[in-house]
Subunit: 159 residues, 2 copies
């Protein structure tokens, strides 16, 4: 990259780099499962961070989920996130960043004709001493917002 | 990656790899501009291609746009695409793939609170002898679907 971090993106700089770790998933309609995860945040000198995430089954290493998109720093501790999911979902989320804690709630979840009905997503994320913790609640297929994912990742590299 | 292409993604296999080239942008509300572009399509063994795109100003090489998301192959020559744009837009598009020609029209365009109002996107893409050509029409900020982008890229690598 080489470019300097855009000053507007400074409140998000604690996310930059590659994070690797383990998570646990559950939902009323599925068997719970464990997963391995890698998250990358990077920048190109503009007032957002690019984001890509992948998970694999801990049990048999098959690819599970992925997400990609952009985290946009907005004045006064606000944050906007736009994401695409390979299962045919797009997500617009808005929230707050306070220090190294982020709270996000979806304002729009839309989907392709063949995608599963996901209606709402809520994310909490924090970084503490080189560890990134998040949880995600999801409303989907008739179930209200319910705990779906929780994970703990370590800072694996700054690139 | 190492995994075999998912059979459902075979109709999209002509997109795989890295494409590099030049494009031209215009819209009634802006000065026209030329750009350099890189597009990457890759797969992880599941029935979609992952996609990431970046553009830079031809004039001064500053980063312009980017997109990331997933192209989902659907039976009977159908295609679903979910994309996030760093300017705060998400896009759900559906369309057709016939041979090496793709037509896509947005079914949903949603945006964050601070994003510019984009209401509709229409994409045509074709590959002919190692060249990828696309054009994109956009409806935005009160203007109906209008030609916005056209580009020509060469297949730069299969990775």
């Amino acid at each position: 990259m080489g470019s300097a971090l855009h000053p507007d993106a400074a409140p998000l700089s604690f996310l930059l780099g590659t994070w690797a770790g383990e998570g646990h998933g559950e939902f009323p309609t599925i068997d719970s499962f464990d997963y391995t995860e890698e998250i990358r945040f990077w920048h190109v000198g503009k007032p957002f961070l690019a984001y890509a995430q992948r998970t694999w089954s801990t049990e048999d290493e098959r690819p599970l989920h992925g997400e990609s998109g952009y985290w946009r720093a907005i004045p006064r501790g606000r944050l906007e996130v736009v994401l695409a999911h390979p299962n045919g979902i797009v997500e617009v989320a808005e929230g707050t960043v306070e220090g190294t804690e982020i709270e996000l709630a979806s304002v729009t979840v839309a989907r392709t004709g063949t995608a599963k009905e996901v209606t709402s997503l809520q994310r909490s994320l924090q970084v503490r001493g080189g560890t990134l913790l998040y949880d995600l609640h999801m409303a989907a297929v008739g179930h209200p917002l319910t705990k779906h994912l929780t994970a703990e990742l370590r800072h694996a590299s700054s690139g």
